[in-house]
């Protein structure tokens, strides 16, 4: 596979979020990720939100630069990497922040999905209109601008055959006790270096997120003492999540 792609569109999704489309579709399983390389600037993991796009929330130096690419610019892609979701029946997709975008391909691949989405404000509920065409959408916003005023966890539990949760780690940790472990999947995030299982940087209680995950069954996540608590920084030193 070719490793450098041309950007064809940079679509503004919200004040902080951009979807970057490139000139070729990538075959992947929902939940797998790509290492996105900006030549001379860096490389970080992102989940495909379309077969030919990633959705990026500006959070720091690298994502600021990625969100600023223009049509014609070149970006490198390495992947798809990691373990995606197994096929899910009637899943409730529970998303927070940019994690909502990371659930989009799973939503399209699933039969009869429903949605439980949270954000600080209405602007952060990405793909709201599109998801409403796929199934029922429950929303919580911290400022009450859309749906329930409060946190997404306050909408749980909901009825579904299976559950997929993707969002900030503390939100996911709050969801863990509220969902049936044997039918629930979490998307775990860690800083990555090699992204292919060699360096150990992305460990969450010994599971290497880049190759054992990023999608883990909740039964595994329940055994991860570090989940929601601590992670290794670039040097390997522990820091709080």
């Amino acid at each position: 596979m070719r490793s450098v792609f041309k950007v064809v569109e940079n679509r503004l999704e919200s004040e902080w979020t951009h979807t970057i489309f490139f000139d070729e579709e990538i075959e992947s399983r929902p939940g797998q990720f790509m290492m996105v390389w900006l030549p001379r600037l860096g490389e970080k993991p992102f989940t495909l939100s379309y077969p030919n796009a990633v959705t990026v929330k500006k959070a720091g130096a690298f994502t600021e630069k990625l969100a600023a690419v223009k049509p014609g610019d070149e970006i490198g892609l390495r992947g798809p990497l990691g373990q995606g979701y197994p096929p899910l029946k009637k899943p409730a997709l529970i998303g927070g922040g940019v994690g909502i975008a990371e659930l989009r391909l799973l939503a399209l691949a699933s039969e009869a999905p429903s949605f439980v989405l949270g954000g600080r404000t209405a602007d952060e509920i990405l793909f709201y209109e599109e998801f409403r065409e796929l199934g029922p959408v429950h929303v919580a916003t911290e400022d009450g601008a859309l749906g329930h005023k409060g946190l997404v966890t306050e909408l749980l539990p909901v009825e579904a055959d299976s559950y997929a949760v993707c969002g900030p780690e503390r939100m996911m940790a709050a969801c863990l006790p509220k969902l049936p472990a044997e039918r629930t999947y979490f998307a775990v995030e860690r800083y990555m270096k090699c992204a292919v299982g060699l360096c150990g940087q992305c460990t969450c209680s010994g599971w290497r997120v880049c190759t054992d995950g990023p999608i883990f069954p909740a039964t595994t996540v329940a055994q991860m003492d570090d989940f929601g608590k601590r992670r290794r920084s670039k040097s390997g030193k522990w820091e709080k999540v």
Binding site: P39, E74, L198, C199, Q201, R232, G236, K237
Partner: protein, 311 residues
Amino acid sequence: MIPLPEIEPPLINASGILSYPEVFAAFESAGACLGGYVTKSVGPREKPGNENPVVVYPPEGAVLNSLALPTQSAEDWERDLEEIKLKNAKLIVSVYGGDSREFAGVTRRMSRFGDAIEVNLGCPNKEPGEQTIMESIGQNPALSAEVIERVRDETDKPVIAKLSPNSDYLAVADSCMSAGADALGCGNTLGPGLAVDIQSRAAILAGTTGGISGPALKPINLRMTYEAYARFGCPIVAYGGIETWEDAVEYILAGASVLGIGTAFMRKSTHEAAALTRDIWEGVQEYLGGEPMSALIGAAHRPADGGGSDA
């Protein structure tokens, strides 16, 4: 000489692969057939290493990495290793520093945790503006000897001098053995090499160059193992492109008594990696057909030169 601890089976990970104690514990729980684990090289003070990309794998069987020795401080490593939960496997602590004093300082803190200390003399990677260990120490027999001497003073555990293939490694090994090393590590990554992207016209690795590991490295480190065994007949921990039981047997015949696996874990889940270690060890055992492994260590030297047989 202090004998190496009994590493049973004699398979370990390579330093910088898996790296952290909780990952070792996960491998052990998954039934990995590794008799020992080597830590990421522990340095004297916190250092993040190079920016991404730090790994590139052109399709030719060569993997380039430019991690450049990220490390938490030796104090933080102490706290980490106090938590370690290995049931049976031995622990080898890999150490590095910028000079012999730093190597000694790290060894002083790490000695009580390790069943052996591996001294990294050969990492060819650097952050911009740094000199590599390989350049500043590992290519210089006198400086390498000074490092080993000072490490020797700080630990009563067996000391493994891990060599660089990009050096006059027999000369370096000679001075390390005289300075008190108990075993040789053959060896670190090769090069460093370069990968260029023709579309963006940029060097891919943020550190520009990266040490070469994987199948492309195997013939080089196999030769190092062979020559080091012929010269010193000492225990050898071999690293470089070991992916199958056949690779492992080749290294044993060349003179290795412990086999390290690194790049072969690439893209493997913990269960797949554990299965790979079992396949390798089962294949080696079948090849041995009941003979003890010790009978075959260095067998490729016989009968012509009989290297190492008097050790």
